[in-house]
């Protein structure tokens, strides 16, 4: 499965300044992600994994270093170029779903398909996550797991090359979490989308091809998982 790297990250650093406090969120991180793989980024909160994901997803910028997507440097792109990059290549899933409360499930997905280059029908995306029956419900009428599956449908509907998931199961109980992971695994298997999942739940590492562990803004070398298991077998 390992082919050419889709992301090449070298010496990436990020320093935040919140008021008078300076935080080194990312400290000299280098790693590669390969096309079609399922990667899990492990680490406690504050370890820098979200910052890393945000930078390769084009919603945050690095302080120094380089992050290449298919050989194209992301650091140094201007806002317009970053918007274009996100729109064309990246799908996001967040811990708190971030659905637009005033739009139905279907409309939340359509929000993305409307501006994507080669989207799948919004209904098909919902079907893929097993939510076709509830597509006309507003977020407030859906459970947490359902909302997260809508968010996944929204992320995959544009058929992105990479799917970046930041604690997708963080706000869910184990049963619902497994359903969500299954949805992600299905997408990865059927569409071949490179998938990176951030989690602080070590059990989830079992479903990945490779696992990266973050701590204090640094990343340790990847561990290869020769036999990934199905999400239903994950020990929560």
């Amino acid at each position: 499965m390992e082919t050419e790297p889709i992301f090449q990250v070298r010496n990436l650093s990020k320093v935040y300044r919140t008021g008078e406090v300076e935080v080194r969120a990312l400290d000299d991180v280098s790693l590669d992600l390969f096309a079609g793989e399922m990667a899990v980024l492990l680490g406690p909160s504050g370890s820098g994994k979200s910052t890393f994901l945000n930078i390769i997803g084009g919603i945050d910028t690095a302080s120094s270093g380089s992050a290449r997507f298919r050989g194209r440097e992301l650091c140094g792109l201007n806002e317009r170029q970053l918007t274009r990059y996100r729109r064309d290549h990246v799908g996001f899933v967040f811990q708190f779903y971030n659905l637009i409360p005033s739009l139905t499930a279907l409309e939340n997905v359509a929000l993305v398909t409307e501006i994507a280059r080669k989207p799948m029908p919004a209904g098909d995306a919902l079907d893929l996550v097993g939510l076709k029956a509830r597509m006309h419900h507003f977020p407030a009428q859906l459970s947490g797991g359902e909302q997260q599956r809508v968010a996944i449908a929204r992320a995959i509907a544009k058929q992105p090359e990479v799917l970046l998931c930041d604690e997708p199961t963080g706000a869910l109980d184990s049963k619902t979490g497994i359903v969500v992971l299954e949805a992600l695994a299905t997408v990865n298997a059927t569409t071949g989308t490179t998938t990176a999942i951030i989690t602080h739940n070590a059990g989830i590492r079992a479903i990945a091809n490779r696992v990266f562990t973050f701590s204090d803004g640094r990343v340790s070398p990847s561990q290869i998982n020769a036999h990934p298991v199905a999400p239903s077998e994950v020990e929560w």
Binding site: T18, G19, T51, N54, G57, I59, D60, T61, E79, R80, T83, R84, R86, R87, D88, V90, G91, F92, F94, F96, N98, I100, P101, S102, L103, E107, N108, A110, L111, V112, E114, I115, A116, R154, A155, K158
Partner: protein, 788 residues
């Protein structure tokens, strides 16, 4: 419809109350623009159509008796297009069924053909025939007031002779669109009329064969009016017409219409910005909050690939949608009120027709201005949304930093914790607090502006009718008479006292300033009927020499006591006398100038003469007096003080009542819009805080108080500012109203300030209570679970 637009529609539906409150404030601004500019355009259009089609003169002059041959010399003046010489004289009209005599003016019509200048619009019947010496046409307003139609008869005292006349036609003239009788401050259609008779008939009655006493002319577009006026003055000087020539600007009817247009223009300039400013502020407040609430949604939209521009445009559309609602409401109401106002003008002014201008450009302009103001208000918030980096937007905003501003920690010991919370919040968001207070103060100011006119008009009526001119009637003689004539007037039935006066027309000249005035001479003192008032409004005696000018006249002429001015005596062939300004008087009507009787007699060089008398009348014998006046040919005119006052009060109060209703509605809309929105935003920002308090065991009342304390402080603090701004607005209104006809004093009673504040407080209370109900119904669990 795109998904973002769908979100927009649902957001609007959710925010409808706040959006509508803002839209209504915008609507007020739009309405004022459409109303004032629309009515001004309709009025201007109607006036110029009437003027053009009926050849309204541009130059006017009068004389005692000028030979007809002069007409050709006037016509030959450079720039003069057409000339019409006329006989114009005051008459007394004795209308059946009307106790009091009416004043009138008789104007001659050419014996042959139609007049070349100041043509008549014939509403009904026909013009009088030359051969019939007992026929006349009358103006429509007068005919309507007395229910006259062609074929009816009436009686007039013309040059001291009573004549029975038959009405042949009902007419309107561009010269008398605004027809005002002697001694009146507003038109009274019942007591003032204009009638038209053939020139030859009038020439016989006034002994003016081959002569005229009035001339009007139209001029070419490029003509220099000032030069023509000067030339006509020179030509008429030997014939008692010195200084009488003038342009349209000094023609009463035209000048009054102009004044009305100036006021409409002022209204369109002053009021809309107030509303647009408030609307911009409200939009800013609402949108900033909305964007704060949707922070994570914005982050998400950006993360999935929507550009900053697309997101800014999304919120821009929300603002534009609100502006469009405001525009629609404002345009509809403005057009409706504008139509009503124009119809009202149609009643007040005598136009044969009304032209309604519906101006598309006006709506476009109003729309652009409104959307512009709204977007300007939204700009900061929208730009903030555009700038927000997606990764930052996805994180909750940092907690608001409160500070111990102004030693609030010390205050904390004086107030309860709840009051301290309210105060800290106010100071933390001081800019919003200040703007909210300004918004509220503007509604107080609008109310003061609407209500002060009652105070000022009352003060004006009190001054004019109960301090200065305390007589019941003023009788004007057909010509000047010896002082003994006052005995004859005293002898009229019902006359309790009579005070003679002398009046003479003159032109007051100082430097390049020049004003046509009437110099009045009479004995003034503490106990006289008619009194000259000093600037402090106390009765004063007239100095033995010199001239006393009203404040407005002195200001217009840039004259001060001790200054010398020239007085061109129109009745003395324009002889120029030098006079010293010996005092300043307060007079709200006309351009008054007073002299002691001996001083004027000396100036005129013909010994003591009188022009008429002011009389005190026994109410019970009024009918006898009226009958006697109608039967006394030597009395050429009569002004009835009580009736003038009543008519003035009626007209002004009708106008003010309409304006006040409109202003109160506007002020309530502003107050409600500002307070409601400000309370909703506060509630939204502090729902968590307030819910926490409830969980901690505070009662609904106590929690509601946190919100109420803040609003109450803002509303109370806004009042003095509102009063001050209201005084400023009122001053503008008073200045706008000031004309050569009358000026309104600026008087604002304490009760007006109190009433204005009460209305604002009431509106604020209602708005706050509506929001408080939401505090009472806070869903504690949901609010606390919501991430913010």
């Amino acid at each position: 419809m795109s998904m973002l637009d769908r979100k927009l529609m649902r957001d609007l539906a959710r925010l409808w109350a706040q959006a509508l409150a803002v839209a209504l404030v915008m609507a007020c601004g739009v309405m004022t623009i459409v109303l004032a500019v629309g009515a001004a355009r309709s009025l201007t259009e109607t006036r110029s159509a009437f003027y053009d089609r009926y050849r309204f003169a541009t130059v006017f002059a009068s004389a005692t008796r000028a030979p007809e041959a002069l007409a050709q010399r006037i016509a030959r003046l450079d720039g003069v297009a057409a000339v019409e010489t006329r006989i114009v004289k005051p008459v007394i009209l004795d209308m059946q069924g009307t106790r009091e005599p009416a004043s009138g003016i008789v104007v001659s019509l050419p014996d042959r053909g139609e007049a070349g200048v100041n043509r008549l619009y014939l509403r009904a019947g026909r013009l009088p025939e030359v051969a019939r010496r007992d026929e006349a046409a009358v103006t429509e307003s007068f005919a309507k007031a007395h229910r006259l139609s062609p074929g009816d008869g009436f009686r007039a005292v013309i040059n001291g002779k009573r004549r029975d006349l038959t009405i042949t036609g009902i007419v309107l003239s561009p010269e008398y669109v605004y027809a005002i009788g002697p001694g009146d401050m507003v038109p009274d259609q019942r007591r003032f009329g204009v009638m038209y008779m053939p020139r030859s008939t009038l020439a016989g009655l006034f002994d003016l064969d081959g002569a005229f006493n009035d001339v009007v002319a139209t001029t070419e577009r490029s003509a220099e009016i000032d030069r023509i006026v000067e030339s006509i003055d020179r030509l008429l000087e030997p014939w008692g017409g010195a200084g009488s020539a003038h342009g349209r600007d000094e023609q009463t009817s035209h000048a009054f219409l102009d004044n009305e247009l100036v006021q409409l223009a002022a209204m369109a300039r002053v009021i809309p910005p107030v509303f647009l400013f408030i609307a911009a502020f409200l939009v800013n407040m609402i949108l900033s909050r909305l964007i704060a609430l949707e922070r994570e949604q914005i982050g998400l939209l950006k993360a999935v690939g929507y550009s900053s521009t697309a997101i800014a445009w999304h919120y821009g559309k929300l603002v534009i949608a609100i502006a469009l609602v405001g525009l629609a409401i404002g345009s509809a109401v403005g057009a409706w009120l504008g139509h009503g106002l124009t119809v009202l003008y149609g009643r007040f002014f005598s136009f044969p027709f009304l032209i309604f201008r519906s101006s598309t450009d006006l709506y476009v302009l109003a729309g652009l201005v409104t959307a512009g103001a709204a977007l300007a208000g939204a700009a900061q918030a929208i730009a903030g949304a555009g700038r927000l980096p997606p990764a930052v937007a996805m994180r909750p905003a940092a907690p608001t930093r409160y500070g111990g501003v102004f030693g609030l920690s010390l205050l904390g010991r004086l107030f309860s914790q709840l009051a301290t919370m309210a105060l800290r919040h106010m100071l933390r968001w001081w800019r919003r607090t200040v703007l909210t207070a300004i918004g509220v103060s503007l509604s107080t100011a609008l109310l003061v502006t609407a209500l002060f006119s009652f105070d000022s008009i009352d003060a004006m009526i009190e001054t004019i009718f109960f301090r200065a001119d305390r007589q019941d009637a003023t009788l004007t003689l057909a010509g000047e008479a010896s002082p003994a004539a006052v005995h004859a007037i005293s002898g009229l039935p019902g006359v309790l006292a009579a005070e003679p006066f002398r009046g003479t027309p003159a032109v007051l000249v100082s430097g390049h300033h020049e004003k046509r005035i009437t110099v009045l001479a009479f004995d003034s003192g503490e106990d006289t009927l008619s009194r000259v008032l000093d600037p402090a409004l106390d009765a004063t005696e007239l100095p033995e020499s010199g001239i006393v000018l009203s404040e407005r006249l002195a200001a217009l002429m840039r004259l001060r006591p001790g200054d010398e001015a020239e007085l061109e005596l129109t009745a003395r062939d324009g002889r120029i006398a030098t006079v010293t300004v010996s005092g300043i008087a307060q007079a709200y009507v006309g351009l008054a100038a007073y002299m002691a009787p001996q001083a004027l007699d000396r100036l005129m060089r013909d010994g003591p003469r009188i022009s008429g008398a002011r009389v005190l009348v026994d109410e019970a014998r009024l009918s006898d007096l009226y009958a006697a006046i109608k039967a006394t040919p030597s009395i050429a005119g009569v002004a009835l003080q009580n009736l003038s006052r009543q008519k003035f009060r009626e007209t002004i109060e009708e106008n003010i009542a309409i304006m006040t209703t409109v202003y109160v509605a506007l002020a309530v809309i502003i107050t409600f819009g500002v307070i409601y929105n400000s309370a909703r935003i506060q509630l939204s920002e502090r729902a968590r805080e307030l819910a926490s308090l409830r969980v901690l065991g505070f009662t609904r009342g106590e929690v509601g108080k946190v919100l109420m304390i803040e609003l109450a402080l803002i509303v109370f603090a806004a009042q003095p500012l509102g009063w001050a701004v209201g005084c400023g607005f009122s001053m503008l209104v008073v200045e706008g109203f000031a004309s050569d006809l009358f000026t309104i004093p600026l008087v604002i009673n304490a009760s007006t300030f109190a009433l204005s504040s009460l209305v604002v407080l009431a509106a604020a209370l209602v708005a706050a209570l509506i929001v408080r109900r939401r505090v009472d119904n806070l869903d504690l669990i949901r609010v606390l679970k919501t991430r913010e």
